[in-house]
């Protein structure tokens, strides 16, 4: 059929860029560079930050201990939330600000079930796994509520989830019958601390497991393609046989599941819950993680690994600041400064300007010679 004969190759200039330039343009460059900078800072300021020692915990288990282990351990909840948040952001172009509140609900459900409705219990009244599954189910139901508002009533995500943000901890109070339950059995704390005989904190394993699950989901299903397509152009997705509403709903439910697992880790750390305080402001950190990972908060294309690295950057920063005894209340101020620097550096406008400057600088050098 060719009426028009010409080589399409000729007019398309394949960009020949240096390795360095391609690398700096990569989405993961900024979060990785931030992580590297934090590592470098600690190496110079006090290399003992990276010291890892093996100790015996109170149950007689050998356990690894050290700042770096704490970072990996404490980031777990945030990583899980960041993963879910990335999907929600991609599909709906907005964020779920109710994850902290939903964590309170999921944690309450799990703990309350395990405690059998008592304020304090010495042994689980129900298989822990079953309680976790129920927690996941409940949390997914709340996710579905958020998702339905977003998908079917077309309410902006932040506003839609403002509802659960406001009501979530109150619902948790209701679930707990206004009590603060405590689970004393050690086996309940395995997930938040250590499994007997294994020196690595269990949350790290859970995180790795969840990351693998999502890696597989993205690799072996079309979750990634569908959420991106829906997030970029819902109309067009609809005409290509997708059900945009369902997919949005699905991402909110997936986030719900992530939230429940995070909630489980959190309650399992101490065997107790204070639902008005648990995971306070974590939604903000989760959203930050997504943004630090180089993902657009207005949806569409995403890179889940960016968000994961973003989460570790945030926790690394927090742990570093704690080490230098920055007052915990002043922490946000430092965090804000670092965040702003990172997002400014990764802003497309700034990057363009910088590369432009480099180009003109290169030119003047050439002219000079």
């Amino acid at each position: 059929m060719p009426v028009i004969v010409k080589e399409p190759k000729e007019q398309v200039k394949k960009p020949q860029e240096s390795f360095w330039k391609r690398m700096t343009r990569h989405q993961l460059f900024i979060p990785l560079a931030a992580l590297a900078l934090l590592v470098l800072f600690n190496l110079i300021a006090d290399p003992s930050f990276f010291a890892v020692s093996i100790k015996q915990n109170s149950l007689g288990n050998p356990v690894l201990s050290g700042n770096i282990i704490s970072v990996l351990d404490n980031a777990s909840e945030l990583v899980l939330l960041a993963i879910g948040m990335t999907l929600v952001t991609a599909s709906s172009g907005g964020q779920d600000i109710s994850v902290g509140a939903t964590m309170a609900i999921a944690g309450s459900v799990i703990l309350r079930m395990v405690c059998g409705g008592q304020v304090s219990a010495d042994s689980p009244c129900m298989p822990i796994l079953l309680a976790v599954l129920i927690g996941i189910f409940v949390s997914m139901a709340f996710g579905a509520f958020n998702g339905a508002l977003v998908a079917y009533f077309k309410i902006q995500p932040m506003v839609a989830t403002l509802i659960m943000f406001t009501a979530g901890r109150s619902i948790a109070a209701w679930i707990n019958n206004n009590e603060l339950p405590i689970m004393n059995d050690v086996s309940f704390k395995y997930a938040g601390t250590f499994l007997p005989g294994i020196p690595v904190p269990t949350p790290i394993f859970i995180t790795i497991f969840m990351v693998i699950v999502f890696w597989a989901l993205l690799k072996f299903t079309n979750l990634g393609l569908y959420t991106q397509a829906v997030g970029i152009n819902a109309n067009s997705s609809h005409l290509n046989g997708l059900n945009p509403q369902m997919i949005k709903l699905l991402t909110y439910m997936i986030l719900g599941a992530c939230v429940a697992v995070a909630g489980f880790i959190r309650v399992s750390r101490s065997g107790s819950i204070n639902y008005s305080r648990i995971a306070e402001n974590i939604e903000m950190d989760a959203i930050l993680a997504v943004a630090l990972g180089g993902n657009s908060l207005s949806g569409g294309k995403f890179n889940i690994y960016g968000s994961i690295i973003g989460a570790y950057v945030i926790q690394f920063l927090t742990t570093t600041l704690y080490k230098y005894e920055v007052p915990s209340t002043a922490l946000p101020a430092y965090k804000a400064v670092v965040v702003i620097i990172l997002v400014v550096l990764s802003a497309p406008v700034v990057r363009e300007k910088l590369s432009h400057m480099k180009r003109t600088a290169g030119k003047t050098v050439k002219e000079a010679t």
């Binding site: 059929m1 028009i4 398309v12």
Partner: protein, 507 residues
Amino acid sequence: MQEGAVLEMRGICKYFPGVRALQDVDFTLREGEIHALMGENGAGKSTLIKVLTGVYPKDGGEIRIKGVDGAVSIHSPQDAQNAGISTVYQEITLCPNLTVAENMYIGRTKGNLTNWKEINKGAAKILETLGIPASPRQQLGACSIAVQQMVAIARAVDMDCKVLILDEPTSSLDEQEVEKLFGLMRDLKAKGVGIIFVTHFLDQVYEVCDRITVLRDGGLVGEYVIEDLPRVRLVSKMLGKELDDMADIKKDVCTAEVSVDGVPVLEAEGLSSSAGIKPFDFSIRKGEVNGLTGLLGSGRSECVRAIFGADHVTAGTVKMNGKPVKISKPLDAMKHGIGYLPEDRKGDGIVGDLSVRENIILALQVMKGFFRPFSRAQAEAFADEYIKLLEIKTASSDTPVKSLSGGNQQKVILARWLLTNPQYLILDEPTRGIDIGTKVEIQKLVLKLASEGKSVTFISSEIDEMLRTCSRLVVMRDRKAVGELSGENLTQSQIMATIAGGDESCQ
């Protein structure tokens, strides 16, 4: 500056990542002329206009404007307005949440306060003179696309400008509206305004323009006085290939014989949808190309959307290959081998930020299922095949589809549906905003598909295009099928007569 020129661009360059959109382009616009800017899809017409009006910063070259010494620097559309350039961009660029009147005046009034009475009065006057059926106080988003387009034009022509730019303003206007626009353009021309006019309709070019500048692949081909450049030469300039004769293409196209004796692939009875289409019957045979024609807004799109299940179907039955089927959502239709290329490319077609590759495989992937993604290699093979087949101009299959020019985006969507190998393909305005070379390509493709035993429904605003491809035409008026033409009835005048509907009372 040249004698009599109002606008001069010299050596304009513009690069996008991996794309040379404009390279050393010169352009001169004289006082009181209508100057057509022609070129294939992706030739760089819109980019040139956006560079001129400060939407994009230019990477090289200079712009001069009459009355200003030296090169002017235009960094924003506002600068352009101040310099006396008023523009209607290719995509409608108004604010849907503001009123019609405000859309006409915002960003160009002097003073810091809005005098609502005055702008409503002013707008009402312009709307009336141009015969635009809208109220000044109406929210623009509530108007039809055509009205919005007219409002954009009204805004531009109302400005006291030296240069008026119209980038494909006629793509969603009907004939009368186009005529009205041309009248306006001639008036302005008489007043000494220079007009840049971009269109893919050759007839329109020869109807109103004085000069033509042709772009190809971001480079300047040349500037011609209209009399010196007959159609065939214009087309060959645009394509970059000397054509022996345009008639060849036509002949080529017409030789494809259409079989009309196959079994009905699809039969719809009493179909109606929530979009407001009245119950209609529709059928198409194997290997047939039929078309839907009618005036703008006559309901052609709604009709095919109902068949595809894109709108909520409220009544009717559908049979495919003689068996009743239920199509309530696009996926059902796709599973039954129906493909649908929507008319609103940007809104309904492309998935902008996804790559060309992902856009091409999207529909097939959805049909294949959630749990069975194509491997990367497979997807790349598909994409490369169709990029080559349809000659899609793209830096690579990884390029985001939104950075392709309009026509190439259309090809990507076409590729998407061809890849699903449908037995019945619905094309709603597949040639809108597409250059003539590609248009012919698409028409040929349609006929080729038909010859392979596929059925195609073709919708186009250009009647001769329909005549060339379709063996049967359904004429629609006021959201109703009012006639059907085939065989020797299939002539321009017959169609016009049916559309006009002499036998029925006025709408």
